[in-house]
């Protein structure tokens, strides 16, 4: 039912956010969703180069967005959105 375009070209090591394990960290490489989705994701802080970690896997999943200055916020999102957010996994 959902038609969300992915237009970014992820680097080889990037994987969909949904492939990260619980507690695993990653850095958002691209999340080129269509207009309103992209704006919403970005305005919630899930933009490019953002450090994230997975709080809950599954559908919907819960992602924590880590700020460089400290502090964080949690975002809940459907798996179909998570699949279109490409992240570079980081070592634990």
């Amino acid at each position: 039912m959902t038609a969300i375009e992915t237009t970014c070209e992820p680097a080889c090591e990037a994987v969909p956010l949904t492939q990260l394990g619980k507690g695993q960290r990653g850095r958002v490489q691209c999340c080129s969703l269509d207009g309103c989705c992209g704006e919403l994701i970005d305005s919630l802080g899930l933009g490019e180069d953002t450090l994230i970690s997975i709080c809950r896997r599954g559908d919907p999943c819960i992602v924590r967005v880590h700020h460089r200055c400290g502090g964080s916020c949690r975002i809940g999102l459907r798996r179909e959105i998570g699949r279109r957010i490409m992240v570079r996994p980081m070592e634990a």
Binding site: A3, I4, L40, C55, G70, S72, G76, R78
Partner: protein, 646 residues
């Protein structure tokens, strides 16, 4: 509520911020009970306004950004530009941006967007206590220097720092513009880094994660969800029963008092039967509505509701509804009107429309008296089956809502759904004061409606049910003569009561409403309704619960008697014009029950749908669909009951 007078030289200020930053709590702290609630002209977004110390303060909807196509963002853009049509406010003199100290970089993006508008700005840095718990300390002076505006550290839930905001707003000047060559996001990161220091380990997020492990778990979370919802409804129905009884008694006493002091006639009838009886029948639900709003606000402030929406999202998805539809549909179990208003939180237009259109299927409190009456007739001596039937009414309503949504979302409301992306705020202790103020505001809104729309409808119904007046039938005169010759005062009073009821029934039958009932009877005949039940259905358009009192009058059974076994038996055995067939036969009772679960019998709800969707066309769709479905459902139930001899 009367509007708040604006002093001639009031400083005009708007309050803006991300959702979940404590903006409404802060506004409540500043405003107290002096809040005027209205809609932003031409929109469905609520505008809360107050005057404090010569400052006119307008609370804007929570937004993450001024860009984008969401209605909240559009309202904020227009308000900041002074382009709200019809509003006398003009461009604001200053902007107070409420910022979450635990989430500074993202919040500062909105600050950057506001600074670019060139307006004087003050920052209310809220939740500084929570930031400390998260191991963060923010240097407000450094932040103020970076932004070029005054920063006031606040804890809205306790009121700390709130008293400094008014002074800061009076001193506010437009900050220096943002660097042209630096994106807002990078600027926000840089400013945050420059004023934030880590002070020890943080325990907040880990605790939230542990709670989330349970709350959002597919099985444990579902169990918690069922427990919370059961508790919510139990409290609403059990606790509200007492004040509902008091309100009911107060209106009965008022009616008796007016009856005692006024001479009989049209004016007394209008006051007692039309205004006091009609408005009282609606106001009796005020405690349930207030309690429901209060508890929902507490759940929202605690951080549970966004998690519940996330959990329900999976369940709702096949029906084309987002998780955000959960709160409006939950609220609709108290009353569809606040439920429809709560749909403003659903960002996607089609999903919002679908939720608005199906919300009245949820069994609201006004249906309960009708359910109780019909189930009492159907299962008089079988309490267990009666309980199953009562629950079945709720299930049927919810099932119809979800099925209807699935149909609408695959036909004329088809479209790409907006992704379910929700911020999950940290768990917080709810602020009772803020919840209470919001509940008072909602309660006053309901009272305003009862005093205007419902009052008007009740007067019209009273008029159609009272006129043209006809002379009582000869039997009434004979009964009164019999009462005069009765052996004892008790016997005389009993006969007089019988005569009054017969006279009321005769008057109702010959009134405009009675005529309408007879005229419309052929339409309802396939469902097993006679003209008397048709009158009951017609009167329900004011409010569903009016059906019970109307039937009591039409069938000449005192309403008070309905609560007694003999009164109920009398109603159950009341006959049609042929003197043999029962009005409430088993098949007809089943048919009526299904009809009342599914039918749109509430004019105020239709009016709110029109207001919230911006068009009476959607009210028409809602009315037509629900009426056709209710008719078809009742027809099936009637014939099934006849075939199976239920």
């Amino acid at each position: 509520m009367a509007s708040i007078e604006t002093p001639a030289k009031a400083l005009r200020v708007v309050l803006i911020g991300n959702p979940n930053v404590g903006k409404s709590t802060l506004f409540g702290r500043l405003a107290g009970a002096r809040v005027h609630t209205s809609n932003f002209p031409g929109t469905t977004q609520e505008a809360h306004t107050t005057i404090i110390d010569g400052i006119e303060l307008v609370d804007l909807p929570g937004v993450y950004s001024l860009g984008g196509d969401q209605s909240e963002s559009a309202v904020c853009r227009e308000a900041l530009a002074g382009r709200v049509p019809g509003a006398a406010m003009g461009r604001p003199d200053a902007v107070c941006v409420v910022v979450d100290a635990t989430n500074l970089p993202r919040n500062l993006r909105l600050v950057g967007e506001v600074i670019r508008l060139g307006l004087p700005v003050v920052i209310a840095l809220n939740l500084v206590d929570e930031a400390e718990k998260h191991g963060l300390r923010i240097d407000t002076d450094a932040l103020g220097r970076s932004l070029g505006c005054e920063v006031v550290a606040t804890v809205a839930s306790t009121g700390a720092g709130v008293d400094k905001i008014a002074g800061a707003l009076r001193r506010a000047r437009p900050p220096e513009p943002l660097p042209e060559d630096e994106p807002v996001r990078a600027w926000a990161e840089r400013v945050s880094m420059g004023c934030t220091t880590s002070v020890g380990a943080s325990s907040g997020p880990e605790m939230t994660d542990r709670i989330d492990d349970v709350i959002t778990h597919p099985l444990l979370g579902a169990a918690v969800f069922v427990a919370v919802m059961t508790g919510l409804f139990w409290v609403v129905f059990k606790l509200a029963a007492w004040p509902m009884g008091w309100i009911d008694s107060a209106f009965v006493m008022l009616g008796d008092f007016v009856t005692g002091v006024m001479p009989p006639g049209a004016v007394r009838s209008l006051l007692v039967d039309g205004i006091i009886g009609g408005v009282g029948a609606t106001l009796v639900f005020l405690p349930q509505i207030c309690l429901m709003f209060f508890l929902i606000t507490l759940l929202e402030q605690s951080g549970y509701l966004p998690r519940a929406a996330l959990l329900v999202d999976r369940l709702f998805r096949p029906f084309g509804l987002p998780g955000q539809s959960f709160v409006p549909l939950l609220t609709s179990h108290a009353c569809a009107i606040p439920g429809i208003i709560a749909c403003r939180g659903i960002p996607d237009r089609r999903e919002r429309l679908a939720t608005i259109l199906v919300a009245p299927f949820m069994s609201c409190t006004a249906r309960i008296p009708v359910y109780v009456l019909l189930i009492s007739i159907l299962f008089a001596d079988r309490p267990a089956l009666a309980a199953v039937a009562f629950s079945g009414c709720y299930v049927l309503g919810a099932g119809a809502a979800l099925t209807t949504s699935a149909i609408f979302r695959r036909t004329f409301l088809r479209g790409v759904p907006r992704p379910m992306v929700l911020e999950l705020p940290s768990y917080r202790r709810p602020n009772l004061r803020s919840a209470l103020l919001l509940t008072i505001d909602r309660g006053l809104g309901f009272l305003r409606k009862a005093g205007t729309v419902i009052l008007g409808i009740m007067v019209v119904l009273w008029w159609t049910g009272t006129y043209p007046q006809s002379d009582p039938p000869p039997e009434v005169a004979a009964m009164r003569a019999q009462a005069a010759d009765a052996g004892s005062p008790e016997q005389a009073a009993a006969i007089e009561t019988e005569a009054d009821l017969l006279e009321a029934r005769y008057a109702k039958a010959n009134s405009f409403m009675g005529m309408a009932g007879r005229a419309i009877e052929p339409v309802f005949r396939p469902l097993g309704f006679d003209w008397q039940l048709s009158v009951g259905v017609l009167s329900s358009f004011a409010a569903r619960e009016v059906f019970v009192s109307t039937m009591a009058v039409v069938l000449a059974t005192g309403e008070d008697e309905l609560h007694s076994e003999s009164g109920l038996r009398r109603l159950a055995t009341a006959t049609r014009d042929d003197g043999e067939t029962r009005v409430f036969s088993r098949a007809t009772s089943w048919s009526l029950l299904v009809f009342y679960v599914l039918a749109m019998l509430c004019m105020p709800t239709l009016a709110v749908t029109a207001r919230e969707t911006g068009s009476w066309r959607w009210s028409g769709v809602q009315f037509a669909y629900m009426t056709v479905l209710a008719y078809a459902g009742a027809l099936i139930a009637y014939h099934a009951a006849l075939i199976f001899g239920s």
